[in-house]
């Protein structure tokens, strides 16, 4: 079939053709970028934390009338209270293990700093490795369920305790593999010395764990999302956090009983609605905005595609109605049903193809604009190509019903006056 008569006919409906092509172009531009946003959010939400997330929950509580932790006797008192909690919790039958901890991945409450291989370097200068800090005792690794890939885990003898405002650096730490590899690209970090936060006293690396995500989920953490340093340390402050691993199947009961259990150990503390939180809840909260954005973009895409498909059906139906007589003439002159069907399909292919090509340019332009004004990455070509194919396919699907109706026009129409 030659395209010449189709082009000639299109020229008669310039406005309609331009409107459909424009609609397809805009739809393509928006849908490509929206799907790209969805893809990015899904990728973010599926980042692994590196910990075993099942049967895990966090307890956050605050002491009432506790010493302020700035003098040695206050620190000891706070530490005694904390250890009393830990012993009692570890003795519960439903508990697999417990560790004091300052934060968890995705909790959005973090202590961050820098590591240098030289003593006394300025923290914010280039060349330092950014890291987040996790403080906990010898049960931290097993409670989190992180995997040790080199060296050894903390022992009870490694564990220190100090006040929140005390700046003493630890003598030993465990690093995540990304940090260890960045500092020591040869992969022999264990046993090496390094300096934390511009300190002049060295810290020795005793172990390397495979993976542990930082607590922050904002885009500011993207440059060091898996850079974590674990210190064998109980922080003594006016609040404590305990990460608890329940025995399989016992988590709900354990969480339910947690407030009364803690009040029984020591009533002078504050627990609120958020004090006992499962890791699943922490994860859901951290990614709520991302999931929401993905859903919103998904809804917009569906509405857009629906509107555009409906628009094509509507306008093509009108054209079919308008050309009833011509179709009849063609049929009378020997055109087969399939020829009529193909005519409308090719016509739509030309309009949708033209619109989609403009749409590709618009999609790339829109992406560039979003990159300039918002935190957005460059859209990969595959998204645009898939969008292009999807819209052309949508056009073909939408045109099928009116085109088939056109192909069913009887040749006798040619003889009828309108």
């Amino acid at each position: 079939m030659t395209t010449h008569p189709i082009l000639a006919a299109l020229r008669k409906h310039k406005a309609g053709v331009v409107l459909i092509a424009l609609q397809i172009a805009l739809t393509l531009a928006i849908v490509c970028n929206a799907i790209f946003i969805i893809g990015q959010r899904i990728e973010r939400v599926h980042r692994v934390t590196g910990i075993d997330e099942s049967n895990l929950f966090l307890v956050t509580q605050q002491w009432v009338g506790a010493p302020d932790g700035d003098d040695p006797s206050g620190v000891e008192k706070l530490d005694n209270m904390q250890r009393e909690d830990l012993v009692a919790l570890r003795n519960l039958p439903d508990v697999a293990s417990v560790a004091p901890i300052n934060s968890l991945p995705l909790l959005n409450s973090s202590w961050n700093g820098a590591i240098s291989l030289k003593p006394g370097s300025e923290m914010r200068k280039g060349g330092n490795t950014r890291t987040t800090f996790y403080f906990g005792d010898e049960q931290m690794l097993s409670t989190l369920g992180v995997r040790l890939v080199a060296g050894r885990a903390f022992t009870a003898a490694d564990v220190q305790h100090r006040s929140m405002h005390d700046q003493t650096e630890p003598t030993v730490v465990i690093l995540t593999k990304p940090v260890a590899d960045k500092l020591f690209p040869d992969g022999n970090a264990v046993g090496k010395a390094m300096y934390l936060d511009g300190s002049t006293s060295p810290t020795t690396i005793i172990g390397v764990i495979e993976r542990l995500q930082v607590p922050g989920t904002g885009s500011w953490t993207n440059t060091f999302a898996y850079n974590a340093t674990l210190e064998p340390l109980r922080i003594d402050a006016n609040f404590t956090r305990y990460v608890v691993r329940a025995k399989p199947g016992r988590m709900d009961a354990l969480m339910q009983a947690m407030p009364s259990t803690l009040y029984k150990i020591n009533p002078m503390r504050v627990l609120d609605d958020d004090s006992v939180k499962s890791f699943a809840d922490i994860r859901a909260e951290a990614y709520r905005a991302d999931v929401g954005m993905a859903i919103l973009m998904g809804v917009v895409c569906l509405v857009l595609l629906g509107v555009t498909a409906a628009g094509i059906v509507g306008l093509t139906s009108f054209w079919v109605g308008q050309r009833h007589r011509q179709i009849g003439v063609r049929r009378a002159l020997g055109a087969r049903k399939i020829d009529i069907l193909h005519y409308f399909q090719i016509e739509n292919l030309m309009i949708a193809g033209g619109g989609a090509i403009v749409g590709v340019a618009l999609a790339v332009g829109l992406n560039a604009w979003l990159m300039k004004h918002f935190e957005m990455d460059r859209i990969p070509v595959v998204y645009v190509l898939v969008g292009l194919i999807a819209l052309v396919a949508l056009g073909q699907a939408a045109v099928f019903v009116p085109a088939r109706r056109a192909s069913n026009v009887s040749p006798i129409e040619a003889t009828r006056a309108v």
Partner: protein
């Protein structure tokens, strides 16, 4: 004449119910998507204190120097203790306050009840008049209380409800962290969103509300820990809370009221003079690099409106434009199908203007129907934003008369706009040609 056009339009719309329904749905969905995202955008981009925001300023001092600046040369977005105290003492603005976030626990008088944790701020006495904070009972404390580090507190109406059953509690005593404080004021449901006085710690929006305010110097002397962010350019040389106070770590928010541009200029000069003085004294090894932003500029620079909200609004507006193009195409088809009818009307003496009026009326009716559907969908949309948006933002979006009126107005205007070209084409129909071809 209008009633005649309306009758014509309704008759025409009834003739092709599928196409009409399609247009109404298109307009309804397009407008509803835009208005739902707009309701969220409106909620988060609103001015929290519109009558005064242009007089409120946030000073920033560069105590970190070049190594601590952001990529754009920005100084830290909060203050260290030394500089904040200097600014408060110098008292160069009409009203000013340093602020830091605290989270003290309160022990109820009833011993059978468990202690409760609260969130709040340590502020100076001028905080309350500066921000026009509304009181249900009593008032803020005096400058004298500031100086004397008095054990006084202002509490929220919510905390007052919890502790005193909502009765006037001014003069009563509460136990904060084991010490007795006298209640001097109860706030009247004050929970501005964004929490503009401490954006750095709240990120702008928060579901909780500040339950308690106590004098800044009192909180410092009680060593009440800072519950917000602490950012350090270098590790404090001394340990403890005192070490933090002597360091250049930033953890204090600051706000000043400056009533006119002359006052702003003087204050700017004062800040630069202070930084210059620190440079000469050897504390800063760099030239002054201060900022003094009005509250709206400050909220903007802190990106208080989430970029997700802006992107959603833009995408929804894109959807609306596609819907308009779609409606324009359908109206074009619909109007031109009636070329013969137009030909007859024109031949019988109808003016072009009458054709315009007739077809724009038809477009307008589609717009009103689409708007009605849009109202319904917008209502549903705003109700369901809680499913997809973070709590602290979703709770701010609401339906009100302005939103509904705007929905209807935009639906009608947009449809009329979409109908302009099809109507123009309809008015150009040549009567002779149409009559002949019939």
């Amino acid at each position: 004449m209008l009633s005649y056009y309306i009758e014509l339009a309704v008759r025409s719309l009834k003739r092709s119910p599928g196409l009409t329904l399609l247009m109404v749905l298109t307009i309804g969905f397009g407008v509803a998507a835009s208005m739902t995202t707009y309701s969220v955008f409106r909620a988060v981009s609103g001015d929290p204190i519109p009558w005064k925001s242009s007089q409120l300023f946030v000073p920033q001092i560069d105590m970190w120097g070049p190594t601590g600046r952001g990529a754009d040369g920005e100084p830290p977005d909060a203050m260290d203790y030394i500089d904040a105290m200097k600014l408060v003492r110098d008292h160069r603005a009409k009203l000013q306050s340093a602020m830091y976030q605290i989270s003290p626990s309160i022990v109820p008088a009833d011993a059978s009840k468990h202690p409760v944790t609260t969130s709040g701020h340590a502020v100076n006495s001028e905080f309350f008049p500066m921000l026009d904070v509304p009181f249900q009972y009593g008032n803020g404390w005096s400058a004298d209380d500031d100086r004397q580090r008095a054990a006084v507190a202002v509490i929220s109406s919510k905390l007052n409800q919890k502790l005193f059953g909502g009765a006037n509690s001014v003069g009563k005593t509460i136990d904060i962290e084991g010490k007795d404080y006298r209640v001097v004021g109860v706030l009247n449901n004050w929970n501005p969103q964004p929490r503009f006085y401490d954006v750095v710690n709240s990120g702008g929006f928060s579901t909780g509300l500040d339950d308690i305010f106590i004098p800044f110097d009192r909180a410092i002397s009680e060593a009440m820990a800072n519950n917000g962010n602490t950012n350090c350019n270098e590790i404090p040389k001394e340990s403890g809370f005192v070490g933090l106070q002597n360091s250049t770590c930033v953890w204090i928010a600051y706000m000043a009221e400056l009533d006119d541009s002359a006052a702003v200029k003087t204050y700017r000069e004062y800040l630069d003079g202070y930084a210059h003085q620190q440079q000469q004294a050897g504390r800063f090894a760099w030239a002054p690099n201060n900022r003094l932003r009005s509250l709206p500029d400050w909220l903007d620079s802190q990106h208080v409106v989430p970029s997700d909200t802006k992107v959603s609004l833009l995408v929804a507006l894109g959807l609306l434009i596609v819907c308009l193009v779609n409606t324009a195409g359908l109206l074009l088809a619909k109007f031109l199908r009636r070329s013969s009818e137009i030909g007859v009307r024109r031949a019988l003496g109808a003016q072009r203007n009458s054709i315009y009026a007739q077809f724009l009326t038809e477009a307008g009716i589609v717009g009103v129907a689409g708007g009605a559907l849009g109202l319904l969908l917008t209502g549903l949309g705003v109700l369901s934003v809680g499913w997809v948006l973070p709590k602290e933002i979703a709770t701010l979006a609401h339906v009100d008369f302005v939103l509904l009126a705007l929905t209807l107005l935009i639906a009608v205007l947009a449809t009329l706009l979409a109908g302009l070209y099809p109507t123009f084409r309809a008015s150009r129909v040549q009567p002779a040609w149409q009559l002949k071809s019939n």
